[in-house]
């Protein structure tokens, strides 16, 4: 994985609350056996009309949304299933971070393992972002803060080990494998 230290991008705003994984990528697109190309199915039921054409009212189909790497979404983003296809689809489309006031546990865990930053901010910051779609913001993973164009700098929580892995381009499996002796010891001590 490529190390991540900072992101600079304009935002795309989807204010709906509880955007679930069935919206992020509907189940009918899960009949794949790789992680590739899922970006075209991202938000499929909102993004395309029933005849398969882009829905002009959907935010990602607007010209000013192109090239944005940061999705600002309503409260409780990513609730629902454990499908890692959800962060894979967001990443394949081009997003590198999701900002909300709450992000569902399994989604956030999956996102971190793929280099998609789940960023939880306070309601006031979130409110400002919702009201300023297209704002140019900086996500600083090293400093653990989000900087807004109005000069505000807001810190965000992020699990320490996941951050370490992202900053250094490490994958978590390598760390787990470094514990194989302890794992074998556990197995023999517990007769499992």
């Amino acid at each position: 994985m490529q190390p991540i230290t900072q992101l600079h991008s304009t935002t795309v705003v989807m204010p709906s609350t509880n955007i679930d994984t069935d919206q992020i990528i509907p189940a009918r697109f899960l009949t794949v056996t790789t992680k590739l190309g899922l970006g075209q199915s991202l938000f499929a039921d909102w993004r395309y009309t029933s005849d398969g054409r882009p829905n002009p009212d959907f935010v990602l189909n607007r010209a000013d949304a192109a090239n944005s790497q940061i999705l600002v979404a309503g409260h409780n983003f990513g609730c629902g299933s454990s499908r890692e296809h959800a962060p894979w689809a967001l990443l394949d489309y081009g997003f590198r971070a999701v900002v909300s006031t709450a992000i569902a546990d399994i989604f956030a865990s999956n996102a971190l393992k793929n280099g998609l930053l789940p960023i939880v901010v306070d309601p006031a910051t979130h409110g400002w972002l919702l009201e300023h779609p297209g704002a140019a913001v900086t996500v600083d993973l090293e400093a653990r803060n989000l900087r807004l164009p109005n000069g505000a700098s807001v810190s965000f929580p992020i699990e320490a080990f996941a951050r370490h892995c992202l900053l250094n381009g490490l994958d978590e499996l390598g760390y787990l494998q470094s514990k194989l002796d302890a794992i074998a010891g556990y197995e023999s001590a517990h007769s499992v």
């Binding site: 204010p15 709906s16 609350t17 509880n18 679930d20 069935d22 919206q23 509907p26 189940a27 009918r28 899960l30 009949t31 794949v32 056996t33 790789t34 992680k35 039921d45 029933s50 409260h75 409780n76 609730c79 629902g80 299933s81 454990s82 499908r83 890692e84 962060p87 709450a102 569902a104 546990d105 399994i106 865990s109 999956n110 393992k113 793929n114 699990e159 320490a160 080990f161 370490h164 978590e172 499996l173 760390y175 787990l176 494998q177 514990k179 194989l180 302890a182 794992i183 010891g185 556990y186 197995e187 517990h190 499992v192």
Partner: protein
């Protein structure tokens, strides 16, 4: 020694390396359940790195999500209609063979929904850590296991190391006093709990369902409760093992035998939270006050008693968006709204007791004209038991569509879908937009309510039919 919760006991017993400020815990996983949809990328990672599955003996595979439910496609010579699904099935068959993992294949009498078959086999046991690339893994918490859904990257981690990196969740007591009234089921109870806690209220927590109402539930009812823990945002849900648990497990194929059984039972009896153990959060409900519940919106927390009206929430954009999608308005009553499809099945309500409940309503009655009642057993064992005890005959006589087991219309991956704009009363777990098909409108309810609604062709209170 300080009083500990059941969660803390199970967690601590599985810490290979405890967590620190800089690193999560290395948590040992006793049982890894896999299926065809979330495993291919994890097997591909193993293959790319030349790694084996470390503990194939602690890994069980089944086919459920994308598999057809038509008998011809499973037992006949008709190929699986959806090509991509056929490819997923073949890939799991090949991966299971290559990596030495036990697979309940397409025609195996033990195949079924992953969260139905593991308890049936007795593979799910109290005190275990159980994971699966599926959010409804919380189901297994009904046995006092710590069971939760993981992503495909983590499936790969468990394959390679039999461990996961985890931060310790917080604890949340759901205290349910009283006793459910006749016609009010475990499904109604969990919907009421989610309505009260909210769809993100459990985030970061492991729920423990406690109290007289929970103790009175059968194991299958407890599985329905724990299954939907994730719909409150929770990491997992747990219920302390007791005599009901032991009675369910005794004699199942994969439980310990003889002296080993006695030793296991002694350990399991120590699992319940100690008196005075403290929880990080709690909520209290009275089961006796509950009525049959039904959802009206697009998440499981948007739920009302069946005789109630949809709440009037004015211009709340969340409610408005949901009601627009559903074609409903605040203030309307749920009873009497027309129904096109009824689905009875899923890991939430696809077990034998659920089918027995449906049969109580359907016996000697006919499904309303124009309604498609699809009944999909949770496993082939459930299917055979339903056929052996005459339930399937009751369903067929009523005009229901009786199928082979699988996830089916819960998420519509296999082609069993609800049409755009149609209303489906469903015993499954999610009423998200488009979950059961593009444009489908889902109303979550119990098997009783679903069956009664199929009979009348409209949303109906099942109690007069019981």
């Amino acid at each position: 020694m300080t009083a500990r919760t059941m969660f803390e006991k199970v967690w601590t017993a599985h810490e290979v390396v405890p967590e620190t400020a800089d690193t999560p815990a290395v948590l040992y996983i006793d049982l890894h359940l896999i299926h065809e949809v979330t495993s291919p990328q994890a097997f591909a990672m193993l293959a790319a790195r030349g790694l084996p599955v470390r503990r194939p003996d602690r890994t069980l595979a089944t086919l459920d999500h994308s598999t057809p439910t038509s008998t011809e496609q499973i037992f006949g010579n008709v190929p699986i209609r959806v090509d991509a699904a056929a490819k997923q099935v073949q890939m799991l068959e090949r991966n299971a063979a290559d990596f030495g993992v036990e697979l309940f294949g397409m025609r195996d009498a033990r195949r079924g929904i992953v969260h139905v078959i593991s308890p049936e086999l007795g593979a799910t046991q109290p005190g275990m850590t159980i994971v699966c690339g599926d959010s409804h893994t919380s189901t297994h918490g009904a046995f006092g296991a710590l069971a939760f859904g993981i992503g495909s990257t983590e499936v790969g981690h468990v394959f390679a190391t039999q461990c996961l990196l985890q931060r310790k969740p917080r604890t949340f007591a759901v205290n349910v006093a009283g006793r459910l009234a006749p016609g009010v089921t475990a499904k109604d109870l969990i919907l009421a709990i989610i309505g009260k806690v909210g769809v993100s209220g459990g985030t970061g927590h492991v729920l423990e369902y406690r109290g007289a109402a929970i103790r009175a539930l059968s194991m299958e009812e407890r599985m329905t409760i724990c299954n939907m823990s994730i719909e409150a945002g929770a990491r997992a849900g747990m219920i302390a093992p007791d005599e009901t648990t032991l009675e369910y497990l005794a004699g199942r194929p994969r439980v310990p035998r003889a002296a080993a059984w006695d030793e296991a039972v002694a350990r399991w009896r120590e699992l319940a939270s100690d008196p005075g153990a403290s929880f990080d959060a709690s909520v209290d409900l009275d089961a006796a006050q509950l009525e049959p519940m039904i959802t009206y919106g697009t998440n499981p927390g948007m739920v009302v008693a069946i005789n109630a009206a949809i709440p009037m929430r004015g211009d709340d954009p969340i409610e408005k968006k949901a009601l627009d999608y559903m074609g409903f308005s605040g203030g309307e009553r749920m009873l009497g709204k027309p129904v096109d499809v009824v689905f009875i099945g899923s890991c939430t309500n696809g077990r034998l007791e659920d089918l027995q409940a449906a049969a109580r309503i359907l016996r000697g009655r006919k499904v309303a004209k124009g309604v498609h009642l699809l009944i999909v057993p949770g496993s082939q064992q459930v299917k055979h038991a339903a056929e052996a005890t005459g339930l399937a005959d009751i369903f067929k006589a009523a005009g229901a569509d009786w199928r082979e087991s699988g996830c089916s219309m819960c998420l519509g991956m296999n082609g069993d879908t609800v049409g755009a704009g149609q209303y489906a009363v469903s015993t499954s777990n999610r009423n998200f937009e488009g979950r059961q098909g593009v444009g489908a409108r889902t109303l979550l309810a119990s098997p009783y309510t679903a069956a009664a609604s199929a009979i009348f062709g409209k949303i109906s209170d099942p109690r007069p039919l019981l």
